[in-house]
């Protein structure tokens, strides 16, 4: 007994770290809803009020939640529902139907899914039979029979709402909204979408808060450790450089998900030997996040491939973005070799062709008009998929890059 108590008081550091990472990962990976969504208080209240009216008073409503990806639309709805379902009256009455535009790709599937989730009487086991027309007629009949005071309200959640709008004739949407506008069974339609051009907007904004995301809950086993951790997080947030990184990230995107990814990177660097997140960790994570994928890819190329890229860059400069083919690139490369009168990079034509194909496979260059089999491979027109800045950056970091190649890349003319 006492032994256990002791253990409770001072868990080994390793275990604490594991616990901590587990809790924070759960939180960051959206498995656990935060107690209270941050910065969307007004919207939360509004939506809650609206849904409650449907559930309690039987008033039909329709809401569209619009916001950029990762803004927390689903989280908002989930937390509203969680709060709503805590009320007993609501819990007993409300029926829920969850649809996703990516899963229910046409009205036929959507109808079956609705019928299944509502457990209407034409559900056999877990399947719905019958034709599309039958199902539609059945569902409409069912909804028509209800009236505002006696039948249970139904909540329709349409995730990826914009995809439903692409269905033929928008039959499902018309009927749902028609039901919500007539004296039939009370329904609430909640659409979630990131497309602003869908209909109207139920405004949706948010303010970023960093601290709350990383603070620990009260019931963490080792209090001392928890205290230390929270202290260090606070200190971390006051650090100038960390703030800079976070601000830069914030400037770039106001997306919860990318922030979570970013913080995950920090978190995974916490080990027994280093039980707190240091400023350096954050900087490193930032560096990883902001790194340019294509420029990194250039580091793995051979000198020949790099030279071809540089030749393409020069061609782009000269011809102002006109497409090129292998022959032109090879000629440009030969010019460079002639100028240097250096036989070090003198490659055979097949070798150059191979390097060229490799670049195409890496999608650093792409053919202009699909892969037309008619033209010979050497003369197929290509475009470079890299920006000049990316090439220059990659050259700076390229391990043991020959100076003459570097100089050739820097030189303004071929």
């Amino acid at each position: 007994m006492s032994k256990r108590k002791v253990k409770d008081a001072h868990l080994p550091v390793g275990e604490c770290i594991t616990q901590l990472q587990k809790i924070l990962r759960e939180r960051l990976c959206n498995q656990q809803l935060p107690e209270k969504p941050e910065g969307v208080g007004a919207q939360h209240k509004h939506l809650l009020e609206l849904l409650r009216r449907t559930a309690v008073h039987g008033e039909s409503n329709s809401v569209l939640i619009v916001g950029p990806r990762g803004a927390g639309k689903t989280m908002l709805l989930k937390s509203v529902l969680r709060e709503l379902l805590e009320e007993k009256e609501v819990q007993k009455n409300l029926l829920q139907v969850q649809l996703n535009g990516l899963l229910q790709t046409d009205d036929r599937i959507a109808l079956k899914e609705i019928t299944r989730q509502l457990h209407l009487e034409n559900v056999v086991g877990d399947k719905v039979f019958g034709s599309f027309a039958e199902n539609l007629a059945f569902l409409l009949e069912a909804l028509k029979k209800g009236d505002r005071s006696s039948s249970r309200p139904v909540l329709f959640v349409l995730d990826e709402f914009d995809l439903f709008a692409h269905h033929k004739n928008q039959t499902l949407l018309y009927n749902l909204f028609d039901v919500s506008q007539s004296a039939q069974a009370p329904i609430a339609v909640v659409g979630l979408t990131c497309r602003l051009d869908v209909l109207e907007l139920l405004e949706k904004r948010y303010i970023e808060r960093v601290q709350t995301q990383l603070s620990l809950p009260q019931d963490f086993p080792d209090e001392k450790f928890a205290k230390d951790w929270n202290e260090s997080v606070k200190a971390l947030c006051e650090d100038k450089s960390v703030e800079e990184v976070l601000l830069r990230h914030f400037n770039c995107s106001r997306d919860f998900r990318s922030l979570h990814m970013f913080l995950m990177l920090c978190l995974s660097r916490v080990t027994v030997a280093k039980p707190v997140v240091k400023a350096a960790d954050v900087l490193e994570a930032g560096r990883l996040c902001f790194a340019d994928a294509k420029a990194d890819m250039l580091h793995g190329l051979s000198i020949l491939e790099l030279c071809l890229i540089i030749a393409m860059k020069h061609l782009n400069d000269v011809y102002e973005g006109e497409p090129f083919n292998l022959q032109m690139v090879h000629n440009e490369f030969k010019k460079f070799l002639q100028r240097k009168s250096n036989s070090m990079y003198n490659f055979e034509q097949p070798v150059v062709l191979k390097a060229f194909e490799h670049l195409q496979q890496l999608e650093l260059i792409r053919p202009v008009d699909g892969s037309s089999a008619k033209t010979q491979r050497e003369y197929q027109l290509m475009r470079l998929m890299l920006d000049n800045s990316q090439i220059m950056e990659a050259l700076q970091k390229y391990p043991q890059c020959p100076t003459d190649v570097k100089q050739w890349a820097m030189s303004a003319f071929g």
Partner: protein
Amino acid sequence: MKYWTRLQVRRVYRWRGRPVGFDRRLKTQEYSALSISVDSVPQVTVISAGQNILIEGEDEDQPYVAKVLKLMGDESGQQKKALVRWFIRASEVPLSKRKLLGRDPHPQEIFYYKGRSCDDEVDAESIIRPVQVLHLDAAAPFPESCDEDTLFVKMSWDSKTFKAVTSDQVDSGSADSAPSHLKPSLPPSPPCSPPAAAPATQGPSCRVLPTPDPAVMRKASCRETWSSRSAMSAGKAGRMEAESLHSASKLSASKCLSAKWTTAARTPGIRKKLNMSSPQKLSVDQDVLDRLLNEELESEGTLAQRLSASPPRAPPPHAPPSRLTPLKTAHSAAIALKPLSVIVNRRTSSDVDSPPSPTRTRPVQTLQEKEPLLSDLPELDGENSPSLPSGAGPRTSKRMSARLVSSRIRKQLNLLENHLDSDSDRDDQDQFVPLRTELQSSSEEDSGDEEDEEAGPPKRRRRGQGGGGPRTPRSRGQTVARTPRKTPNRKATPSTPRTPHRATPSIPCRSLPARRPANILEEARIRLHVSAVPESLPCREAEFQDIYNFVESKIIDGTGGCMYISGVPGTGKTATVHEVMRCLQHAADVDEIPPFTFVEINGMKMTDPHQSYVQILQKLTGQKATPDHAAALLDKKFSSPTPRRETTVLLVDELDLLWTRKQNVMYNLFDWPTRRQARLVVLTIANTMDLPERIMINRVASRLGLTRMSFQPYTFKQLQQIITSRLDKLKALDQDALQLVSRKVAALSGDARRCLDICRRATEICEHAAADPSAPGLVGMSHVMEALNEMFSSAYTTAIRSASVQEQLFLRAVIAEFRRLGLEEATFQQVFVQHQALCRVEGLQPVSVSEGLSVCQRLGACRLLLLEPSRLGILQRVRLNVSQDDVLYALKAD
């Protein structure tokens, strides 16, 4: 059952005998009889006044039934007319009214027609042949087996209600007009055969249930007729479903018990059940019966058994009518006899093993129906308890003797009766459990049985499931299905599991009642909701009157026509038409205009334009058919001349969606009203005024005609009036605020729905803003302004303002690049150069290309930018989805 019609054989009609009367005014001669002969057959059928006949109708299988009052011909003998009194078949009663009957109609049941809308003069050459019509007392059961030509009348139908009808009434038509000296030359059934006598000779009377509650009995009886039918079609699925609901209410307790039961214990239960339903075992029951009814019955029982051997044909025509009365009264007096009808029906339906009757009616499914059935299960166990008479006796009448003993039985069952009369759910547990503990097992058997059934012969069952069964008939259906005679029927049903088409579409009821509005704003919100049906439609009086006059005149004249109604959304088109229909329906109810049928279809509410045929047919007749078949049936219906037809008013909403390439749906819809016999009025609604000219080909547009009506958008005064009338003196909205809303909406669209929505939102805002939630103030100018801003504010502006710094920079870079190029399109690479430059100007660290791309993709996902597929990388082209001015405005306001 096929009747001969003119299509198959040519019939020749001739007057028989001399004219017996002459009407000077109409110049018609009255004849006493008409002979019908078929070309090839020497036999001649003679029709005379007072006889019941079949008349060609829309449905070959279901010809009209009528009684001839008078036969007339003009002097030349060319035209032959008959004055008739109509009977109506159950299938001809409008679908919505059929439930008024309260039970399933018998397939051969007809109703005495008292409506006025039918022409009672028919062409005599449409007469097919005579038919037997028997009058039955309202409470009397239908005779169990009879030939197909016998029809039964119990009730009358006056297009509103069913009423019991006496035999005199049925007769009366002929009494005044039929010449008395005429003897029917064919032996027709007398219009009034001894009604009570027929069932009395057929029904087994000994099995008396202690449940005289007539309502329950009626339900049970219709269940019975149904169940035998469903036994072949009821699917496993339906049963499983039924079980779930079933178990929730009643069997929950017994189910728990049944879990304990071993399969061995179940077997006897099954056997017992078989006892009950299989006819071979009747003798067993007979013992019980005998013990119950003493010796006096025994002798009668055997006699009756002998009687039952002869098929229950229609009784001899010369049966003295005087005998009817005492029997009838006896019948109604004997309470104990009422259950008898149940048994009669049960036997009837299971014995007759005839093809499923053409009118497949829908069983009423309630839990309650089950109860009387459960109550007869215990009876099987109760062999030694005299209070539980059980078993089916011989199928013969012991009516009199039953009546004799009924009082005794009633005494014995006094207790039970009281129980059963009250709540039938409780009593079979309450009352039987104390009697015998075995009882529990019997109800257990019931449930255990069901499980058994499901587990037992699954293969057979799967074959047997047709349209899937409704829930209730399950337990009874099972017992019937087990009797060997049902086996051949099983193959008649389709084999694939399908949607149980008898499933009732409904949303479950809420467990807690909806809360009443608490304050004035909530009340206002309910009234302002679009779904609230206003008492009157202000500002649409002229349109209302036009449509009303149009439809009313067509109904009165019995002609058809088309009308096209157009108007932008939210101008009250559908609401006005519905209002018109409500008023007309009311007028029809008080007999100002002839009755009519209203059918509504909506182009949006169907999956395919051709489904409109299916929906129309289903709403008119309740039939289900494929689109092609339905179109054929409707076409036939509207083109064939029929003596009695109510006008049909068809509302087609969202007409533009019925467009097909060949436009055959629209063509048919507009062509039917032009048929002489159709009596069809078509009202069509669509948004665009010039729809006929735009999408219809000439021959369709021409049939639509020129009766057009256009609903203009509401002006601000009208909108104001609409809201005021909706609120109806409810002081919730400030006058100025109201005017602001209506002016704003009228300037934009004139959409009343939008206007109502804004007002509703304003009340919400007001409620939130109010400090004291119990006493919120009036909705004022500020609340309305806020609601308007929410509704009309551009989503894009909000989105741009809340975008991240880099996203805003990117938008600026896009505009800068557009200005530089002088084009509205640029590649990402070009924009990115501008972006980098802007970053440096703003003092931000330049972003990498990958990050720039992700910024660009996020803007594309919001549709602020239009992008090419992202696999093009930096080469993808970028366009703005908002105007440059909007972007600059949104960015400047920061």
